[in-house]
């Protein structure tokens, strides 16, 4: 049994996880309150500014429940930070500071851009997603199994939803207010790169796959910052973990989104989740 630890990105379920984190990692919870100037769990519904540290703390707390060290790890978007903490590449305190900075930078962009976000479109035949080109939304990434995520301003997302309905595709809006993984995030990527320059990065104890390259991180600082503007490739990450021998996947953190995707992509695998 070869275990892969996987960490979700944005998970609205983290808004309810304050007690879970307080019980398992009171030190991290207290540091989050100190660095945010407020309990991020109490405000996580309001903004990605607080949701990001809430998700991160939940995932780090869940990591403590693993029965044995995993052979490999990967994170979906924001989840990369908790994956790198588990692998010892980043100290949890440093990573929390980075995530809080990332959340603030992303929230600032959302406020400047105005209403917008992301929408997930599911098609059994991925070729049909092409019907959504040219509507002002950018492809932010893919989740595998025919699910593509687009991001952009409100009007573009509405156009995507309408076009998807006409094409017989299912589109569902994601509970985020930021067009993550698109060029609009460039200022945040630069700010995060500056913050990353000030933290220590160690060699990961186990391979941690980047959700952009679907390969083990080669340069943690540049890849974490660059991920904000690059398309995520979760489908390729699941394939890579399977190719590396993973037979058991444990999702650590809020929600169950990754478990659902992995169950489809790797039907023979054992899929578990640990979290609130």
């Amino acid at each position: 049994m070869t275990t892969a630890a996987v960490f979700p990105g944005h998970g609205p379920e983290a808004t309810e996880a304050g007690g879970y984190v307080q019980a398992r990692r009171p030190d991290l919870h207290e540091l989050a309150i100190e660095l945010c100037g407020i309990d991020p769990f109490a405000r996580a519904r309001e903004s990605t500014r607080y949701l990001q540290p809430a998700v991160f703390c939940t995932s780090v707390a869940a990591s403590g429940e693993l029965d044995r060290p995993p052979a490999m790890a990967a994170g979906h978007s924001l989840g990369e930070f908790a994956a790198l903490v588990l692998a010892g590449a980043l100290a949890a305190d440093d990573a929390l500071g980075l995530v809080i900075r990332r959340g603030a930078l992303c929230a600032d962009i959302a406020e400047q851009l105005g209403p917008g976000g992301m929408v997930a479109v599911t098609a059994r035949d991925p070729g049909r997603i092409a019907a959504l080109d040219g509507l002002g939304a950018a492809v932010a990434g893919d989740n595998g199994r025919g699910q593509v995520v687009l991001a952009g301003p409100r009007a573009a997302l509405d156009a995507v939803r309408d076009a998807a309905a006409e094409a017989g595709l299912h589109a569902s809006e994601l509970p985020v207010e930021v067009p993550f993984h698109t060029a609009a995030m460039e200022p945040a990527a630069q700010g995060l790169a500056d913050a990353l320059a000030a933290v220590e990065v160690a060699e990961p104890a186990v391979p941690v796959l980047s959700c952009i390259s679907a390969k083990p991180f080669a340069d943690v600082r540049s890849e974490l910052a660059g991920a904000l503007t690059a398309r995520f490739r979760w489908g390729a990450v699941m394939d890579a973990l399977r190719a590396m021998g993973a037979t058991r996947f444990v999702e650590l953190g809020p929600g169950r989104m990754l478990s659902s995707l992995i169950r489809r992509a790797v039907p023979a695998a054992e899929v578990e989740r640990l979290g609130p």
Partner: protein, 80 residues
């Protein structure tokens, strides 16, 4: 196209869910959706399979409107 109903329809739904990686043996009417780990992505794919492969048109919103708790709840909506 003649659309299947009754036991044939139920078989189509259960086969589809098993195809998504769910344990076929646990797919019984009174099984709790949360315990089965059946989520919205499953229901989206199920709706697409029903329409594209079997000509059964049902919107995801129709299923979600009954706030299904068990697999039987889902089967009942689709079979209406």
């Amino acid at each position: 196209m003649t659309t299947p109903g009754g036991p044939a329809l139920e078989q189509i739904v259960l086969d589809a869910l098993a195809g998504f990686g769910h344990d076929r043996a646990r797919l019984v009417r009174d099984a709790d959706l949360e315990q089965l780990d059946i989520d919205s992505l499953d229901l989206i794919e199920l709706v697409q399979i029903l329409e594209e492969d079997h000509g059964i048109v049902i919107r995801l919103e129709e299923i979600q409107a009954v706030d299904p708790q068990t697999l039987g709840d889902v089967l009942d909506v689709i079979g209406r």
